[in-house]
C-alpha cells in the first residue's frame, strides 16, 4: 500500500500540433495527495475530467504535464503493470472463459506465483468478498454485483498493489444489489487498509465511501476535505449546491453599512458587528448560502424572521422539504414532521447566523 500524489498534472486530448493557446485542457495543473491506506473519492459532474485523472494515475494515459508519485517515487514513465495500481471499471470486467477461482488467480499466475500459494490467496480473497461458495461457478452464471466483486478481488489479491482505483463501480449494478456492494467496498477498504480512490458523479456514493473527498469541476480541483467539511464549509457555491440533498440555498445580497444589514432582493437580515467586520466594505456583492436543514421554520411571527409562503411540500419519508417563496426569493427548508404546515401557509423563516456561509466572487469567506 502506498501514498499517491499528483504534482501539477495537466492533460489535453488535443494533438501536439494544436497551438498552446487553443488547447483545451481536460485537467489543468492539479495537485492532490492521498495518504497511505486511505479511502478517497473523486467527485464531480460528468465530463469534469475524473476519468482522465484516473487513467493518468493508473498509467493508461500519459499526462501532458506533471508527475504521478507513488510513495514519493516518480512513476509517470512506468507502464500500468509496473505501477502496481489496480482498477475496477464501470461495468464488471471479468474473463468469461474462466471460472471464479481462475479469474481471481489470473494476476497471480501472471506473476508466476507458486500454485499452492495461489490457492491460499484466492480462498482468502474470496472469503473477504463473500464469494467462497462460488469459486467453482461459471462466470456467466453470476450477477453483475458478484462479477464486480471478482473484478475488485483481482485488484486486491496481489499484495504489492499500491492502490485500487474504482471508476463508478456501481453504475450498472442492479439497485437491489447496490447497497450491499457499496457496504462491501467500504468493508474491504476498512479491513485491508488499501489506498482506494473512488471516482463517481454520485455524491451519495462518494460521501458514504470516502473519508476524504476531492471535488473536481471543469478539470480543476475545487476542494478536498472530509464529507463533513464539504457539507458544512463548501469552498464555493457550486459545491454547496452539488453536495447535499436538496442542495444549499444560495441568495444574492449586498452588505449595507448604515444599519448593519444584508440587503436581499426583497428582504433584509441584520448582521452582528463581528460578522460585518469579516465581510469588508459596504456595498460588496455577496452570496449567502444556507443548508435547508439548518433553516428554522416557525408557523408564528418571530423576531428577526422573514415571512415566506409555502408553495410546495415534498415528502421524503423522515422529513419534508418545503419550498418557500417571497416576491422574488425562493428557499428550500428541510423540516421535521412536528411542524404542521400545508401548501399556501405563511411561515416565518430565520437563518441562524453561525450556520450561514457567505461567498464573495464564487469563493467562501465565511
Amino acid at each position: 500500500m502506498a501514498r499517491i500524489e499528483l504534482e501539477g498534472i495537466s492533460h489535453t486530448y488535443n494533438p501536439p500540433s494544436v497551438p498552446e493557446a487553443q488547447r483545451e485542457y481536460a485537467v489543468s495543473n492539479m495537485d492532490i495527495s492521498w495518504p497511505d491506506g486511505s479511502a478517497n473519492a473523486l467527485l464531480g459532474p460528468s465530463g469534469c475530467g475524473k476519468t482522465t485523472i484516473l487513467n493518468i494515475i493508473s498509467g493508461l494515459l500519459q499526462p501532458t504535464a506533471g508527475r504521478v508519485l507513488v510513495d514519493g517515487k516518480d512513476v509517470t514513465p512506468l507502464a500500468p503493470r509496473e505501477r502496481k495500481i489496480a482498477q475496477v471499471f464501470q461495468f464488471p470486467v471479468v474473463y468469461d472463459s474462466m471460472n471464479v477461482f481462475d479469474n481471481l488467480a489470473f494476476p497471480l499466475r501472471n506473476q508466476k506465483v507458486p500454485e499452492r500459494e495461489i490457492g491460499k490467496k484466492v480462498r482468502e480473497t474470496a472469503e473477504i468478498l463473500g464469494l467462497e461458495d462460488l469459486l467453482k461457478a461459471r462466470i456467466t452464471s453470476l450477477n453483475a454485483a458478484d462479477k464486480q466483486k471478482i473484478s475488485l478481488g483481482r485488484s486486491i489479491i496481489r499484495e504489492d498493489t499500491a492502490a485500487v482505483l474504482l471508476d463508478e463501480p456501481l453504475t450498472v449494478i442492479d439497485p437491489k444489489f447496490k447497497g450491499g456492494l457499496r457496504r462491501k467496498l467500504r468493508e474491504v477498504q476498512n479491513r485491508l487498509k488499501k489506498t482506494m480512490i473512488y471516482v463517481t458523479h454520485d455524491q451519495h456514493e462518494a460521501l458514504t465511501f470516502a473519508d476524504d473527498v476531492t471535488i473536481i469541476q471543469d478539470g480543476h480541483l475545487i476542494q478536498q476535505g472530509t464529507p463533513h467539511e464539504l457539507h458544512s464549509q463548501p469552498a464555493s457555491p457550486f459545491i454547496g449546491y452539488f453536495i447535499g440533498s436538496p442542495g444549499m440555498n444560495l441568495l444574492d445580497c449586498t452588505l449595507q453599512d448604515k444599519d448593519n444589514t444584508l440587503q436581499f432582493s426583497d428582504f433584509h437580515l441584520p448582521v452582528s458587528q463581528e460578522l460585518k467586520n469579516k465581510l469588508g466594505s459596504a456595498g460588496t456583492s455577496l452570496k449567502l448560502g444556507i443548508r435547508p436543514e439548518v433553516i428554522d421554520v416557525a408557523t408564528r411571527e418571530q423576531d428577526g424572521a422573514v415571512a415566506f409562503t409555502v408553495s410546495v411540500i415534498e415528502y421524503t419519508g423522515a422529513y419534508r422539504v418545503l419550498t418557500c417563496d417571497r416576491e422574488s426569493s425562493r428557499i428550500k427548508a428541510r423540516v421535521s414532521e412536528s411542524i404542521s404546515v400545508t401548501e399556501g401557509d405563511r411561515v416565518w423563516v430565520s437563518f441562524p447566523e453561525e450556520k450561514v456561509n457567505l461567498f464573495f466572487n464564487e469563493k467562501r469567506i465565511i
Partner: protein, 285 residues
C-alpha cells in the same frame, strides 16, 4: 375462427414450401425409388442408400470433401483472425482495408473458377510459368496435387476475407476496459488474446465456422470449371459426384446421395456448434 393472424403466415409458408420443402420431399421420394432415364419408377425402399454407402467412389468423394472442408477451416479461421487483428482500428485506412478485403467476396463462383483456369492454363497462365522458374512443371490437368491445392488456395483467397470481416466486427465490439484490465493484471500479449479476444469473438467465430463449413461442403463451380473434377477424381467433391449421377439419369442414386450429403452437413454443423458453444466456459477445475 377468432384469430385470423395465421392468414398472414400463409405467403411465407408458401414460399418456404416451394423453395425448400417440396424439393426436399421430391429428393426423398426419388431416393426410395429405382428411376432410370424416364422409366416407370419402382419402389425399392432403402436399396439406393445401401448402394451409395457401399460405393467406393462416393466414399472417396466424401473423404476428399472432409479433408478439403476441415483444411479450409484450419487455414481460413486462424488467417481471418490474424488479418482482423492487423487491420487498423480507426482512421482513413479502415475504409480502404475493408473495401480491399471485400473485393474477393463480390466475385461470383463461376468467375473465380474461370480466373483460376486462366491463371493455371499451361503455356499461358502465370502460375505454371512461375513454377517453371524453379524447374517444377505445374499442371492442373495432370497432377492431382496441383489441382487440389489450386482449388484449396482459391477458396482461401475467395473466402478468408469473410472470416476476417466477421472477426473485425467482433473485435470492434470488445470494450477497451477488457484490454486495460488485462494490462493491469499483467497478462502477456498471448494471454490477452487467449482470455480476452478469443472468448469475446466466440459468437462471430461460431457463425464464421458454420458458414465456411457449409459453404465449402457445397463447393461446385470452381472444380467444375478448373478441371471438371479431374485429373482422375482429384477434385471430384461430393457435389460434383452427386451432380454427375443426376446428369446420367440415375435419379434414385442421386436422391439418396443428396440426402446423405444433407445429413452429413447437418451433423457436422451441429457438432461444431455444440463444441464452440460449450468449449472453455470455465466449468472445469
Amino acid at each position: 375462427m377468432k384469430n385470423r393472424g395465421w392468414l398472414f403466415v400463409i405467403p411465407a409458408l408458401a414460399v418456404l414450401a416451394i423453395s425448400a420443402f417440396i424439393p426436399l420431399m421430391t429428393v426423398i421420394n426419388y431416393s426410395l425409388h429405382y428411376i432410370f432415364a424416364g422409366s416407370t419408377p419402382t419402389f425399392v425402399g432403402f436399396e439406393n442408400y445401401v448402394e451409395v454407402l457401399r460405393d467406393s467412389v462416393f466414399l472417396q468423394a466424401l473423404v476428399r470433401q472432409l479433408v478439403f472442408s476441415l483444411g479450409i477451416l484450419a487455414v481460413e479461421v486462424p488467417l481471418g483472425i490474424c488479418i482482423a487483428l492487423c487491420l487498423p482500428k480507426r482512421g482513413p485506412g479502415v475504409a480502404v482495408c475493408l473495401v480491399l478485403l471485400g473485393i474477393p467476396l463480390l466475385i461470383p463462383f463461376n468467375v473465380v473458377g474461370i480466373i483460376a483456369r486462366v491463371l493455371t492454363q499451361s503455356a499461358v497462365g502465370v502460375i505454371p510459368e512461375f513454377f517453371a522458374l524453379f524447374n517444377y512443371s505445374f499442371n492442373v490437368s495432370k497432377d492431382p496435387v496441383d489441382a487440389f491445392m489450386t482449388i484449396f488456395l482459391l477458396d482461401v483467397w475467395h473466402w478468408t476475407p469473410l472470416v476476417a470481416l466477421l472477426c473485425y466486427a467482433g473485435l470492434q465490439a470488445i470494450p477497451d476496459a477488457y484490454y486495460q484490465a488485462a494490462r493491469i493484471d499483467g497478462a502477456s500479449a498471448w494471454k490477452t488474446f487467449r482470455y480476452v479476444t478469443l472468448p469475446k469473438l466466440r459468437s462471430v467465430l461460431i457463425i464464421g465456422v458454420l458458414l465456411r463449413f457449409m459453404d465449402s461442403f457445397k463447393i461446385y463451380a470452381e472444380p467444375l470449371l478448373l478441371t471438371g473434377g479431374g485429373p482422375g477424381d482429384a477434385t471430384t467433391f461430393l457435389s460434383l459426384h452427386v451432380a454427375r449421377k443426376a446428369e446420367s439419369y440415375q435419379l434414385g442414386y442421386a436422391g439418396a446421395s443428396s440426402f446423405i450429403y444433407l445429413f452429413i452437413v447437418i451433423v457436422f454443423s451441429y457438432i461444431f456448434f455444440q463444441l464452440m458453444t460449450h468449449i472453455g466456459k470455465g466449468e472445469t477445475k
